[in-house]
């Protein structure tokens, strides 16, 4: 089950916007507009779904949610461009799906400015004119040269899966003993508190590491992600991290009496952990209070470490700060849980 998630989620959690549906209202029908429309429809990002004359007609598509963008080319666009050297275009964006609309708008503007360049190049033909210097910015993406979104997502999602196994399965398991009453029977045996807790947590600790191992293999098989850093580093950190989340699971289980209760508490934590972990959105762009919260979220650290090690090849020394923090988490959460867990109810 977690493995299926690992295979499906990164594909779905892809920020790249494709197939933005666009309608073009061409009131000019000139060579230039023809060139522009060709350029747009040639792009992989856009689906030209309609090419018409009236803005009302195009608006209809937006209202029916069949299109995200309208490019309105006014009458006499070419003539203006040629005579006055400037011409204006109008872009309308359907902002219901904010991300798609926003990115679609940006893509479209890029295409238009590109088109603008082309026209200029065409015009700079007469000798004597020195060609306009054009500064072109090209970025080089380190550690993930192709900006492959999956490289970024897969390690993060793997962290979430390990967290679920570590924190929430263990919480549910102990609470189940409470609910079914088996804990009562265990409690009257000479078995010690720490023996019981260790007996409960060690299987999940191992299970968590196995999930991580399988996850690494799957991400290599399906996404071709090979860790830049050593796997030893990943697993060393994961072992510590699991101690912390197991402590969290234990803590949840000491506070809840029924499985429903612990499910709800776990779900609440999970939502916060995922959203404040920097998995989907960069922590640096969150408001200040959220950034502080994110610092108290163990998931944040593991995701950072995973990305650092897997993508950048960081060593144990590079993640020493993360190791320290997660160790603190482990001590505090487990300590709290053990204090709160009373074998004598």
């Amino acid at each position: 089950m977690p493995m299926v998630q690992l295979l499906i989620l990164p594909l779905a959690a892809d920020y790249e916007v494709r197939n933005v549906r666009i309608t073009v209202v061409d009131q000019d029908h000139s060579t230039y507009t023809r060139q522009l429309v060709d350029k747009i429809s040639a792009s992989a990002y856009f689906d030209l779904i309609h090419y018409g004359n009236s803005y009302e007609e195009a608006l209809q598509f937006i209202e029916e949610d069949k299109a995200e963008l309208i490019l309105n080319i006014p009458p006499l666009f070419e003539k203006q461009l040629l005579t006055e050297n400037t011409a204006s275009l109008f872009i309308a964006v359907n902002a219901i799906n904010g991300v798609k609309a926003n990115l679609g708008g940006v893509y479209l503007r890029n295409i238009i400015s590109d088109f603008n360049q082309d026209i200029r190049m065409d015009w700079i033909q007469s000798p004597g004119f020195s060609p306009r210097p054009i500064i072109q910015i090209s970025a080089l993406n380190w550690f993930n040269p192709l900006l492959n979104y999956q490289y970024f997502m897969v390690p993060g999602i793997l962290v979430i899966l390990v967290t679920m196994v570590g924190a929430f399965l263990s919480a549910l398991n102990i609470v189940k003993e409470k609910e079914v009453g088996t804990i009562e029977q265990i409690n009257v045996t000479p078995i010690r508190k720490h023996q019981f807790i260790l007996g409960k947590l060690i299987p999940f600790w191992i299970l968590g590491l196995i999930v991580l191992g399988i996850g690494m293999v799957l991400s290599w098989l399906f996404y071709g992600i090979v860790s830049e850093g050593s796997l030893g580093t990943v697993f060393t950190f994961a072992a510590l991290y699991l101690l912390a989340v197991l402590g969290l699971g234990l803590l949840v289980s000491t506070y809840s009496q029924t499985q429903q209760q612990s499910m709800l508490i776990s779900f609440f934590f999970m939502m916060i952990f995922v959203l404040l972990s920097g998995l989907y959105t960069a922590i640096e762009s969150m408001p200040m209070w959220a950034q502080i919260f994110a610092r108290f979220n163990p998931v944040t650290y593991f995701i950072e470490v995973m990305r650092m090690v897997v993508l950048r090849g960081s060593s144990l020394f590079d993640i020493r700060y993360h190791i320290l923090v997660v160790t603190l988490f482990a001590i505090v959460l487990n300590g709290w849980a053990i204090l709160n867990y009373k074998k004598r109810v």
Binding site: T182, E184, V188, T189, V345
Partner: protein
């Protein structure tokens, strides 16, 4: 050090319910003698389970002390856990483990094995052995109880606590269960059993009648029934419900309640039964019969509750 296996000395325990405190057990004291089957008899909510949980070190009493084999339940709880067997009222073995696995699991917890104490549990184990590969959750009620008893005995405890072991179990299994307990007595295991069934009280060596956290009486079942002072009669007629109402209205009747096929009627001393019969006939009762009733624990319990 107390010589008795179980000593309860002025134990009280209350639970917070909302803002109020509800007393589950109020200032209870008693002693259980070595090797006896001590019965706690009382209706649901009388405080039986609380008492069990205190004695098995699961609950800390608000006041008073309790000792099991001389060990204090609060301070020496770890010693107590080695020497007692506890069978909670609710089936609390691992339902997804098989009979065999449950037994070996609990044996391991006590650093022992099924083989080591086989002679103690063999009578019970023989009955569940045909199902040893079956998951505990799939057993019948009676079988579950036998398995639970087996698990509670696996480490040869000195004292066995059985909280309502026969609740929800059919009559045949109940009889079988009590036969098993009797056999365990030969192994000089002290047992404390609770039950809401009054008829099981006579199977104990001594019983404590408990109600609303208070002990009404402690004695042998025989003594308890002997203490019953008033004359007890069993009445029956064709219209049993009307008979009950009629009897309850009469001045010379202390109490009247249904008991099996009869109504048990408690009378004041020196009451004339034929006179009562005449009065009832006058009220239209037919086929009226009255005979001296046999006093049971239940009658004593009802009497104690009226006090």
């Amino acid at each position: 050090m107390h010589k008795s296996p179980i000593v309860v000395d002025g134990i009280s325990k209350s639970y917070p319910v909302g803002k109020e405190k509800v007393n589950a057990v109020t200032n209870i004291s008693f002693i259980v003698n070595p090797g006896e089957i001590f019965g706690l008899i009382g209706p649901d909510g009388a405080g039986k389970t609380s008492l069990f949980r205190i004695l098995t070190t699961l609950l800390i009493p608000d006041n008073g002390n309790a000792y099991v084999e001389g060990f204090n339940t609060v301070n020496d709880y770890h010693e107590i856990r080695k020497i007692v067997g506890y069978m909670p009222g609710r089936f609390s073995l691992y339902q997804d483990l098989s009979v065999e696995e449950n037994l070996s699991f609990f044996a391991t917890l006590f650093n022992t094995s099924l083989e080591e104490n086989y002679d103690l549990v063999k009578d019970i184990y023989n009955q569940i052995e045909p199902f040893k590969k079956r998951r505990a959750g799939k057993l019948s009620g009676g079988m579950k109880q036998k398995l639970a008893l087996c698990c509670a005995l696996i480490h040869r405890p000195h004292v066995l606590f059985l909280d309502e072991p026969t609740t929800g179990v059919d009559a045949v299994s109940r009889t079988e269960f009590w036969t098993l307990l009797r056999k365990l007595q030969d192994q000089s295991i002290t047992m404390m059993v609770s039950t809401p069934y009054m008829d099981e009280a006579s199977l104990c060596d001594r019983v404590a009648l408990i109600q609303n956290g208070n002990i009404l009486d402690i004695d042998t079942p025989k003594e308890i029934t002997n203490k019953f002072e008033n004359p007890l009669w069993a009445f029956r007629s064709d219209q049993m419900y009307k008979l009950l109402l009629d009897l309850q209205q009469m001045d010379n009747v202390i109490a009247c309640y249904p008991f099996g096929q009869h109504h048990h009627v408690v009378l004041h001393q020196d009451q004339d039964v034929p006179e009562i019969l005449d009065q009832l006939k006058a009220k239209g009762q037919t086929n009226l019969k009255a005979e001296p009733g046999i006093v049971t624990i239940e009658d004593c319990f009802m009497q104690q509750m009226r006090k």
